[in-house]
Amino acid sequence: MSAKSETSTTTANDQALRPHAEDTFAHELKALAAADDRPRPERWRLSPWAVATYLLGGTLADGTVITPKYVGPRRIVEVAVTTLATDRALLLLGVPGTAKTWVSEHLAAAVSGDSTLLVQGTAGTPEEAIRYGWNYAQLLANGPSREALVPSPVMRAMAQGMTARVEELTRIPADVQDTLITVLSEKTLPIPELGQEVQAVRGFNLIATANDRDRGVNDLSSALRRRFNTVVLPLPATPDEEVDIVSRRVEQIGRSLDLPAGPEGMDEIRRVVTVFRELRDGVTADGRTKVKSPSGTLSTAEAISVVTNGLALAAHFGDGVLRPGDVAAGILGAVVRDPAADRVVWQEYLEAVVRERAGWKDFYRACREVSA
């Protein structure tokens, strides 16, 4: 039995480093529940409309301001919420740094008022984490019984009609993943040892998150995939948004690493984000030239790590100012994942796009140096 899924809070809320969503935003949820007069699916704390409002933000009739939890396309949230009210489970896909876990937590908090029924997916997640385990002392003393059974978060969610969460579904070994098929299609979890079963109560559903472009994951079997409605969380829509996210995160990380970060680095951050976006989208920022996309994900999270690395280089080996040379090697590492194909992609990009661009001479030279 994995202990990590047992997350019942023992810490006092005010002392927790990071309180749960339903605690942090308890007042908003309460105000929404009070103002919400639309029909609610059984055992939902709020109506789908109110859940969407909780995530996207807004002002209620009584003047309560709901802060936006997710900044992004409205339709994505609407589809996600609606899916939870249907027969199918919800699969949130996206590259790292697109707020999958964040959305899943808030959805669970708003729908069921409890975001802690969580299974963290890892390569070592056992079947017990999804089905049930045994309390061996009890089992040995009294034989198999419901008392000796240790339910998983999924089982508890089924029994109580709550929303269960599975993080990083694709990291879980394929045979363990498939345990979910019965749960999601038959809505029941048999316990053959006792000749019993746990049937899902109305209101039960499951939110899974997965990274769709990582390597070394266990792809979902199509049987399992059919049980999910898939919502892809997009990357930041505009360059400014992304630059903003990157610089904010870099600053936070830099502070904990005692790295000096000045506004001088902004140009370089913008450049890194531009390169990442252009390669990712397969087209230059001005929309005039197409470029090939490398095999790497080039997520915002990677941009952040490239810049952080560059900052460390600049601080310890340079003059403390982020320069093209400091990020060039990092970018190369992020872009060229497949030594043969990606290298061609990168060199084409360098020659066709970077070389011609005004003000990018230093960067071009630095990249040529590390790519040679």
């Binding site: 609407e78 609606t82 769709d212 066709a352």
Partner: protein
């Protein structure tokens, strides 16, 4: 707005191309049973209306009005099956109720458009003037249509529906309309008044027009005056029980009372042209906004579906979608359809809409059927939401303007269509012949193969073209079909080329298209084609394709220069392509088998030639930075290739070394070193043989070796320096290459070698340098194998002819390899 009881005509304000409107119109007509139906549209088309009942008439079609002697100036009134106008037209024709078009005659509107274009730069066209409500409505002239997209500035032209929708709290007027009108379902109760929604809408429009006046649509008062006059005529003729189907915007104006004189006054002195009207087939794609035709609805396929499905539109839609996806090998089961319908309906509830619409359906398809990816959604959008439907027009419809334009061109170019096959020689330097060539090329692009280019029998100059002409009867049908592309041969060919460029599957197709565009002289299509070309080039991962495309493109650049076309765009694209070849070539040369290596050698040669040519052109265009850079970069690639070992086949390495040598980028010592390296005992025999083949040119390279003294000297020099012990190892390799030469060539080679090296290549041979410098080869020694003496006078006598051949003047610099060979031939020739 009043009903018939008060003796007033029934005014049915509609949204053009709205299925809901269309249904409502049908219901209203059934209820009102008018004695005549008046429809917004050009009155010139009145006599063509009965064709709408013809069994071969299949919407979407469009009424096309054009200026009789200038088909380029045209206006379209597209009608889909779900257009209220079409429904009203069919209703009236089926019941033999008189039906009339009452809008301003096309003769005036075409003339007005022309004048407006002349007098002011302001982009004006009629379709747009009707604002949002007619976004499906009518446009005038292709130019105007193209501009419509750009002119979509809502702050300038007030969009009546947008205002209504904003008032109702919708950000998208189309969705508002869908919710309020389109989604009302087939019957809102049996006893319901079919006229009630029109009354409500008219009232809303009345309020809008009170607030906004004409909304800045300058032509509306004139058009509405004309409609009022026609309405009055009709009332005199048929009595008061008349139905009018027009854009909702016009309803208040038609209901308003005004005097005949005032209306006549407005219509006085309008410009006029001779206009002709006909039916043309239309496509769903052209109805859609995306195609660049301003008049449009985003989702004709969806509207068609809404109109044609009797009930449960979402369920039926999802089933259709599943069918399309299954055909494309997506695993979509009925369970998917069920879930998608459920999700769509749930979404509609969350969004507070009465019924799931296209947005909900789309979201549901993406989440349920497409695993969150965009690919199926795009497919569905293309196939179903827009749809591929092509309309049909009966054969007895009047000739399309394209036909007239073609006839006109045939007259001016004195090129009669004849069924007999005949050959036509064109001298492109003559104006008429150039025009004929352009026409034939354009027609070929349009799929009307009146002429087939053939190889000229006599001269083969660039300025000559030979065509085989034969006019088959079915070509007339092709012309009619091509009518959907445009009203003139030029505009149709341009539109077709642009659309083909976008849809082309491979890079080579686009390159060919670019060449065709140049031949047919379609300057407006060229940017689109170039855009597609550079996009494809950027995404094509196969260097072979790129290398194949490059020569044709460079040819086009040069050809464009000859014809005086602006080749700057082409040149940039060609340069970009070359750049990509440079980057991609070295990795692509690794790990090839024999066939692959032979193919790659072909690419290497083609690229080399293209780069040489491009370098020249580049030098002409930008003397300061063009040539040296491009050529030296290419030399860098070749050098990298020639120096790499193992992974790159010997054939490629040898070829690269040879190309470098020819370009003077590799000195003889280095070449010798590379040769030694490639043929040394450590190299696998096959690889070494490949190298020498690549270097001296394979089966047909013997002649080269005979004539290229330097090359021979190099091989000879290296061979003599091979130590005795190693010689026996090398021998088989050389034999493998030389055995392929013809016996005559072999004998000559033997003789040349036997005659011995008169002078080594490193010796400056005084006698030859003076004359050969004019050829640009640099002070070459007297060729090995020949005596050092040179008869200057005899050599000089040849030079003028030589210059003429090479097309250079005294200091000209013809491409090196071509120049040197004849040069060394001549200087080496002895009496």
């Amino acid at each position: 707005m009043t009903t018939r009881s008060t003796g007033e005509p029934v005014l049915l304000g509609v949204r053009h191309h709205g299925p809901g409107s269309a249904r409502a119109v049908r219901a209203a007509l059934e209820q009102a049973a008018p004695d005549a139906v008046l429809i917004e549209g050009p009155p010139e088309a009145d006599e063509l209306l009965p064709l709408a009942l013809h069994k071969d008439m299949r919407p979407p079609v469009a009424l096309l009005a054009h200026v009789l002697d200038d088909p380029g100036r045209a206006a379209f009134w597209p009608l889909a099956e779900f257009s209220p106008e079409w429904v009203a037209l069919r209703w009236a024709l089926e019941r033999e109720v008189p039906v009339r078009f009452i809008d301003l005659p096309a003769a005036h509107s075409l003339a007005m458009t022309a004048e407006e274009e002349k007098t002011e730069e302001e982009k004006t066209e009629e379709g747009k003037t009707e604002g949002g409500k007619t976004e499906g409505g009518k446009t005038e002239g292709e130019k105007a249509e193209r501009e419509a997209d750009e002119a979509e500035a809502p702050d300038v032209r007030i969009d009546p529906l947008g205002v209504l929708a904003r008032t109702a709290g919708y950000d998208d007027p189309e969705r508002w309309w869908e919710d309020v009108v389109e989604h009302r379902g087939a019957g809102s109760g049996e006893g319901a008044d079919a006229l009630a929604p029109f009354a409500a809408l008219a009232e809303a429009m009345g309020a809008l027009r009170e607030a906004y006046g004409d909304g800045g649509h300058d032509r509306d008062p004139v058009r509405e005056a004309h409609m009022r006059l026609r309405l009055r005529d009709a009332r005199r003729e048929f009595g008061d029980n008349i139905a009018v189907v027009c854009g909702a915007w016009h309803v208040p104006a038609l209901a308003r009372r005004s005097t005949v004189t005032a209306d006549r006054q407005l219509l006085k002195g309008l410009p006029k042209v001779k206009a002709a009207v006909t039916w043309v087939p239309w496509t769903h794609r052209r109805l859609s906004r995306r195609s660049g035709y301003g008049a449009g609805i985003a989702s004709p396929g969806w509207y068609g579906h809404l109109f044609s499905s009797p009930d449960r539109p979402v369920e039926r839609w999802m089933t259709k979608v599943a069918g399309v996806l299954r055909d494309e090998d997506y695993a979509v089961s009925s369970a998917h359809v069920i879930e998608a319908v459920r999700l769509a309906e749930g979404l509609a509830t969350v969004r507070g809409r009465p019924l799931a619409g296209l947005t909900e359906a789309d979201d549901a398809i993406r989440a349920v059927m497409g695993d969150g990816s965009d690919a199926p959604s795009l497919l569905i959008h293309d196939r179903l939401v827009v749809g591929e439907l092509l309309g049909e027009v009966p054969e007895d419809a009047p000739a399309v303007p394209l036909q007239r334009d073609l006839a006109r061109s045939q007259r001016t170019l004195r090129l009669k269509p004849q069924a007999l096959e005949r050959e036509l020689e064109l001298d492109l330097r003559k104006e008429t012949d150039a025009g004929r060539s352009r026409l034939l090329h354009r027609l070929r692009l349009l799929g009307i193969p009146w002429g087939e280019p053939t190889r000229s029998r006599g001269s083969t100059g660039t300025f000559r073209e030979t065509w085989l002409l034969r006019w088959e009867p079915e070509l007339s049908v092709r012309v009619a079909e091509a009518g959907i592309w445009g009203t003139t041969v030029l505009s149709a060919a341009t539109a077709k080329a642009a659309s083909e460029a976008v849809g082309a599957a491979s890079l080579a197709e686009v390159t060919a298209l670019a060449e065709q565009c140049l031949l047919a002289e379609l300057p407006d299509a060229l940017p689109v084609v170039m855009r597609a070309l550079s996009d494809r080039a950027a995404l094509d991962a196969d260097v072979g394709h790129l290398a194949q495309a490059l020569p044709a493109l460079v040819r086009s650049v040069r050809y464009g220069d000859v014809r005086g076309t602006d080749g700057a765009v082409l040149r940039d694209v060609a340069l970009g392509l070359a750049e990509r070849v440079f980057v991609g070539l070295p990795p692509a040369c690794t790990g090839l088998d024999d066939d692959g290596a032979a193919e790659m050698r072909g690419h290497l040669d083609a690229t080399h030639q293209a780069v040489g040519l491009l370098g020249q052109l580049e030098a002409g265009a930008r003397p300061e930075d063009g040539t040296p850079e491009l050529r030296s970069r290419w030399a860098g690639v070749l050098r990298a290739l020639s120096r790499r070992d193992d992974a790159v086949p010997g054939l490629i390495r040898g070829r690269a070394a040879r190309l470098l040598l020819d370009d003077g980028q590799l000195d003889d010592g280095e070449a010798e070193r590379l040769m030694g390296l490639a043929l040394s005992p450590g190299t696998p025999p096959a690889d070494a043989a490949g190298w020498i083949e690549g270097f001296v040119g394979g089966g047909d390279g013997g002649m080269l070796l005979v004539h290229d003294e330097r090359l021979l000297a190099l091989v000879d020099g290296w061979l003599t320096s091979v130590p005795d012990a190693a010689f026996t190892d090398v021998l088989p390799l050389l034999r493998r290459t030389f055995a392929e030469y013809e016996s005559g060539v072999r004998r000559t080679l033997g003789e040349l070698v036997r005659r011995g090296p008169a002078a080594t290549t490193r010796d400056p041979a005084g006698g030859a340098s003076g004359t050969s410098e004019a050829g640009g080869t640099g002070g070459e020694a007297a060729a090995p194998g020949f005596g050092p003496g040179l008869d200057r006078d005899r050599a000089a006598a040849v030079l003028p002819t030589l210059r003429l051949l090479l097309g250079t003047d005294q200091d000209g610099d013809p491409a090196r390899p071509t120049a040197r060979r004849p040069d060394s031939d001549l200087t080496g020739a002895r009496p």
